[in-house]
């Protein structure tokens, strides 16, 4: 592969600016991947990678991705919480790269919770 130049990064910046204008005001969902020690050890980073790859490849525009620490349910990691519009947050457990993509497309994009992967609906205290 050719060298990466500052010029390449400038092009990326312009590209990002354009797609950002399209994204603006469309944030309807937030996915929080739990990244405590337990989450990371159970595979949370792979879940995060799969999620970002899918968002990028499918040009998903309404979803914000963030992380949190351990939620005290270490044996159910990797976990993620999805908040869609004004619906109560849904906590998903025992995730992997495939499950998170299904959750992204069905819940965060379409608004239909994936019940078979859900642990509970509602939120608990996070550190």
């Amino acid at each position: 592969m050719a060298k990466l130049t500052i010029e390449d990064l400038r092009k990326i910046r312009e590209q990002a600016k354009r797609s950002r204008n399209l994204r603006e005001g469309e944030g309807t969902a937030r996915i929080t991947v739990h990244m405590g020690t337990c989450g990371i050890a159970a595979g949370a980073r792979e879940v995060m990678d799969a999620l970002l790859k899918a968002i990028d490849e499918r040009d998903v525009r309404n979803v914000l991705v963030t992380t949190s620490g351990c939620a005290g349910l270490c044996s159910h990691e990797p976990m993620a919480t999805v908040e869609y519009a004004d619906s109560p947050p849904v906590k998903y457990v025992n995730l992997d790269g495939e499950k998170i993509v299904r959750i992204l497309l069905e819940h965060a994009v379409e608004g239909n919770a994936v019940k078979e992967y859900a642990f509970a609906i509602g939120s608990e205290k996070m550190s």
Partner: protein, 178 residues
């Protein structure tokens, strides 16, 4: 943890929670001295002597959702399993440095793993934090600094998918901006 890069992600998450604005990750792999040295330095709140003395105890944690704190204990065990060690230097108000030394050729040494993914995971969830990452392999040195990226990006967020993909390529292929 399956990879050293995952330990690094875990320790760096501690730095984020300590309010760091810059995290430095320095990895040095040297086959001649047969060592891998990993240092994670932050400018966060640091710890007082009492906390510092208990931080490697797996039953000590600063959180209240559970009663164990495994991150640093696991990292130390991983280092010790390869004939190495872990040390922590911290002072309240002036940040923390975690240093782990591994035996390079030791059979129990975990693979380095995916540092690109560790750095982008950190950036995505904490886009305001600066990351300086230096990785030396023998005589080859690779340096990545979010401040260099930001100076080109102007007001475009570093967390934009296009930028993250670019950063990931930079780190994966050990390419600096020219």
């Amino acid at each position: 943890m399956k990879e050293l890069a995952l330990h690094i992600l875990d320790v760096a998450e501690n730095s984020v929670r300590a309010g760091a604005s810059c995290i430095e990750i320095i990895v040095e792999e040297d086959r001649i001295s047969d060592k891998i040295v990993i240092e994670i330095r932050d400018d966060g709140s640091g710890m007082d002597d009492d906390t510092l003395s208990r931080v490697l105890d797996p039953f000590f944690t600063t959180k209240d959702v559970r009663r164990v704190g495994m991150g640093l204990s696991l990292f130390r065990r991983a280092a010790e399993n390869t004939g190495g060690y872990l040390s922590i230097d911290s002072r309240q108000g002036s940040g923390t440095t975690v240093k782990a030394v591994f035996g390079h050729s030791h059979i129990d040494r975990q693979p380095m793993g995916d540092m690109a993914s560790t750095v982008t995971s950190l950036l995505l969830s904490h886009g305001e934090i600066d990351i300086f990452y230096k990785h030396i392999i023998g005589s080859d040195e690779f340096v990545f600094d979010t401040r260099d990226i930001r100076s080109v990006l102007e007001d475009t967020p570093i967390t934009s998918p296009e930028v993250i993909r670019f950063i990931s390529t930079m780190i994966r292929e050990r390419k600096t901006l020219e």
